[in-house]
């Protein structure tokens, strides 16, 4: 569990007192796989227009919480509301961006075909409408990929693939954007451009971003949710003690690697 002076537990009473519209309300969620408890009494809420980062060690329950918010998993206990509905009802209003690494790199599909999947629920008689194609092209343009429309997914760089997946989420015209480690597989040299695109989106919608990268947290987050079975919310910037406590061991190296990149040491970079 993370202990911090800036940490603040969000409980149900706090949530219900709020007058501003909420995008996500999670109250007392516990989830178990067999005998192991992955999430325990997790409560928090996210306001409309907020940009929140979620961090925590591997196996800490981030992915489980994400799947619960998407309605792909029913929590063992507790209540979840997304845009005032159950996650399953609200999932079409959520733009979900998974990690690009989990896709078959040989699958024969173009960037535009992937982005059009964001409009899959609008397919009529086996065809996408002209509006669907226009929206998909605009989503690609928003992510700076207009010239990659017809390029196969396999031939795109890691950063481009991740942006295609964000464009696919945007094509659904979502109110909430959920991103699962969007910078995990992209090179540091293109990360800044990538984060600029996300900053642009931050003005338009609510964002929940799962990451291991503390620089991304500081750049993108209004505050940060730390998940390690239980959940704590921290305001930013994080104190060095909190950082050490959150990322004991290996994860700190990622932070150092990125700092070195910013200082001009590119020995650890693989340029795209």
């Amino acid at each position: 569990m993370v202990a911090t002076q800036t940490g603040e537990r969000w409980d149900a009473a706090f949530v219900s007192d709020m007058s501003t519209p909420t995008s996500i309300v999670v109250h007392g969620v516990t989830h178990r796989f067999g005998k192991s408890t992955v999430l325990e009494d997790v409560s928090f809420s996210i306001e409309d227009g907020e940009s929140i980062c979620m961090i925590g060690p591997n196996g800490g329950g981030k992915s489980t919480l994400l799947r619960i918010l998407l309605g792909l998993l029913e929590p063992s206990e507790g209540r979840v509301e997304v845009l005032g509905q159950s996650p399953r009802e609200a999932c079409r209003s959520i733009g979900y961006v998974p990690q690009s690494i989990r896709f078959d790199p040989l699958f024969p599909i173009s960037a535009l075909e992937i982005v059009l999947m964001g409009r899959l629920d609008r397919v009529r008689w086996g065809r996408y409408s002209r509006t669907c194609r226009t929206v998909a092209r605009e989503a690609l343009a928003t992510m700076g990929l207009s010239d990659c429309e017809h390029r196969p997914f396999a031939q795109l760089s890691g950063g481009q693939r991740q942006r295609v997946l964000i464009a696919r989420a945007l094509a659904a015209e979502p109110r909430i954007l959920l991103l699962d480690e969007p910078t995990a597989n992209i090179d540091l040299s293109v990360e800044e451009q990538f984060l600029d695109s996300l900053q642009e989106l931050r003005r338009r919608m609510t964002i929940l971003l799962v990451t291991h990268d503390l620089d991304v947290v500081e750049e993108m987050g209004d505050s940060v949710l730390c998940v390690n079975r239980r959940l704590h919310r921290h305001s930013l910037p994080l104190s060095p003690e909190t950082v050490t406590e959150i990322f004991r061991g290996g994860r700190r190296l990622e932070h150092d690697r990125r700092t070195r990149h910013r200082q001009g040491d590119h020995s650890n970079c693989v340029h795209e």
Partner: protein, 280 residues
Amino acid sequence: MTEFFDALRQVPLLRYALFAGIFSSLAFGVVGSFVVTRRIGYIAAAIAHSILGGIGIAIFLSRTFEIPWITPMGGAFVAAVVSALIIGLVSLRAKEREDTIIGAIWAFGMAVGLIFIHFSPGPGVAMESFIFGNILLTSANDVITTALLSGVVLVVTAFSYHKLVAVCFDEEFARLRGIRSELYYLLLLVLLAVSIVLLVRLTGIILSIALIVLPAATGARLSMRLWVIMILATLLCLSYTVTGLAASFVLEMPTGPVIVVIAAAVYALVLGWQKLRPQS
């Protein structure tokens, strides 16, 4: 080769085989492309082998109870669809390892077929003709059935194309967009089952697997667009069946194996050419 074209005019059986090959190629090119890109060639193999169970049961029932409308091809169709649904449902719902259920269906289907054929009254059943194909068994009715089933496969695929692609590429995202992705995965397996049944007469249940996989695999080496792969696979499948039929007639060899050898040779050539050509 002229003797082949002369024979086509004179021998109806050869014409039936040719038309059955042409019609089934249309379904094979389209469904095979999904099979190769979704990497479910092993499911095609399991469905193909389980067909023997349906053929055995159909022969047993029609001979024992003298029911003429129960045909081996009808049994093959039912067995293929049932196997596809079992494999799909078990892997989606029962959390059982997919390879385990595939292996079980594969062997169980063949075993059931052999047992029922053993107990079937009447003359012995030429199992070889079902396993490796026999164009002499192709009838005008088979051609009509093949054309109809191919048409159904093509129409269903045309209307479900985008959803099938989405389910093959990212099943979870399709589900989040409100698509019943489990249903579309099962639909894909049923389309695969129907396609396999189409070629039982021509290449047999085992060799039909090659015609599902090889033309699409060759197409996938030549293009990174699924619809282009489908067109290439259909054209390749068509040319394999026609040239295979002609070559086997001229060289007096069994048709199914000749078709499969041609398909494998072209795949190997394309693969070799791509590996050996100088990189630009």
